[in-house]
Symmetry: C2
Amino acid sequence: MSSTFNRRKFLQTSAVAGAAMLWSPKLHASQLPDALSAEIGKSKWDLDSPALLLDLDKLEFNLKAVSAPLAGTRVGVRPHVKTHKCPAIAKMQIDAGAVGVCAAKLSESEVMLENGISNVLMTGVNVTKPKIIKAMEIRKKYPGFIQAVDNPQNAQDLQDAAKAAGIIADVVVDIDVIKRSGVPAGEPALALAQLVDKLPNLRFRGILAYDGGVQHVKGFKARKTRAFKTFEPVVESYELIKSSGLNLEIFSGGGTGTYDMMHEIPGFTDGQVGSYVFMDCQYLEIGGAKNEDRFDDFEASLTVLTTIINANYPNRLVTDSGAKSFTLNKPTGWVVGEPDFLYNAGSDEYGTISFENANKTYRVGDKLEVIVPHCDPVVNLYDFMYGIRNEKVESILPILARGKSQ
Amino acid sequence: MSSTFNRRKFLQTSAVAGAAMLWSPKLHASQLPDALSAEIGKSKWDLDSPALLLDLDKLEFNLKAVSAPLAGTRVGVRPHVKTHKCPAIAKMQIDAGAVGVCAAKLSESEVMLENGISNVLMTGVNVTKPKIIKAMEIRKKYPGFIQAVDNPQNAQDLQDAAKAAGIIADVVVDIDVIKRSGVPAGEPALALAQLVDKLPNLRFRGILAYDGGVQHVKGFKARKTRAFKTFEPVVESYELIKSSGLNLEIFSGGGTGTYDMMHEIPGFTDGQVGSYVFMDCQYLEIGGAKNEDRFDDFEASLTVLTTIINANYPNRLVTDSGAKSFTLNKPTGWVVGEPDFLYNAGSDEYGTISFENANKTYRVGDKLEVIVPHCDPVVNLYDFMYGIRNEKVESILPILARGKSQ
């Protein structure tokens, strides 16, 4: 695991490899409109809004920080790209030591593989015939693509398509935790693992299980108690599969809310951390091991730049950034430097801020930075992020898998 | 006003004009990935999901129906493109008799103007200097671009930029209704109209006022009562401006919820209807003049196609379409043909359906169509819509202003 993240090295590597990554005036100009090249070097306060800003110092801090509690353990991180949808950031995660990445959907996986991310585990299942055929075409082209399966019929369908494609496809069994995806834990999980292992064109690589419900439980202790409790059937399934003689190379799960807990789970190999790169109001609220009030293990690197367009009424400001820029997730965005501001993004096109106390007087045309409610769906609304360092635009990061929900 | 909508004529016109509109294998193939051309003619049930489907028969019904209550009045429609962000649909609206279109933001306006929509009224204001300069550049290129203003400083800024660009820019005064945008009604509105009229490089065209709060009031009578009540100060401002001797060519406002009411307002010229082209669960719930339970003046033409990916538990189905495909708006989507299904899109990547009664037995891989909660932000998540007729893909409609919130 390379422990040092080196940006210059990354830029050089990208340029040499020709991957469509971090964009700069010299690099990959075809990815984005020409006009964007003029933005490099600008002050972030001079950018048009709404705009998605990514503080690069904070991002780089987060890329390192996520591995700190795992030092000396056999557990790694397999960051989930559903959060950022950006191959440039996936590359930084790999360079920072990740064992690979996860992706939620097939189209998202494809964007990553096509853009130089060679090790992608797709956590969702493909269930229709055309999609399974496409998945096998992708696997044929990119050997580092691993697929999930959660029912016997699906395993057979994957087998048929892999055979037709002339390949042996790598498969993990998804085990159900919150009745959303996955095969039921215990005997059904074992039977499915054994089926995958027996099918000649599938290669059983291990298991994954995701407890989406526990990630935002407030309080480190409460979260840990619940994480271990709900994971008990998964651990039993792991033991069952292992006892049956199958080799579990992968036991993947967890998220940002449990990034510093899951290494205590027997057999666990890697955490599917996503939001840690950006943070958001939802995660900041849950509290961490060191600070029960605020989960400050990671820095809030992602903000939306917004402009005040109306200041006609006291204790009220209207901005140009509503639900189409923030989503409707709660808690609503936090205005940087103005803890008393309540940001309402309930209207599609407009944001409304109400407040009792402000640190300065705001006028029409003034700009604000707002930490986002929930990072994943916000990123999915934008074509690119501005990479910001020392308040200036250093790079443009295209969100190449934006809208790739298929 | 041409009263007949003719699709063949539209296609021919588009092809001749070379506008980047409705996409078909022969037309504008460069707009979208090549792979999409293979989708034309497919059954909608064979499409990959999540996908945005637009029933063309229903769309065409809506395009006509919106003008029915206005027959014989001097009032027209000026549809809001923030709903569909699609120049192809804007063109259909114009061909169906619209006096022009509205757009919420500058980047959205630009996409429309660049794609053959010549008459665009931008309802939001531009307040920063770079944006105002850009707006004037756009106005210089496209004489049918009308801008809103809502404070005296902004009027002066527009004047300066128009002068620098060497043009006389068309301006409407936005009058405040819900403390969101606009100049306060009454004397401030009059003073601003007079200022705009006096500034040499601005041309006063009239007023606009939007009551975003009234559109979803349930019950036709209650809605009408509130619409007229909240509009009183706007009507007074209209009378005041008119009495001062200014010519009000435009008095624009209203929405889909008040499309059949606003023509009774003195001086009113056009309704800024948006959602009527698609409809959504929010609007279907408000009731109409003919049906108090369901607002069925328009057809629900827009749906998301989704695939069932897990059916392990009774009375529960999991799909591949969550908040990234539907947004978090309430009421959540309605599954076509299954009135008892409750669709939960609260998870980013997954939808969960709970039900007591189903009309058939569903299996993994089956597809469902779901009417969207709130059409505007859902459309903003997709790159294109499939135009469907007789259950088959007839066209691809690129959502060229998707993500254009600047």
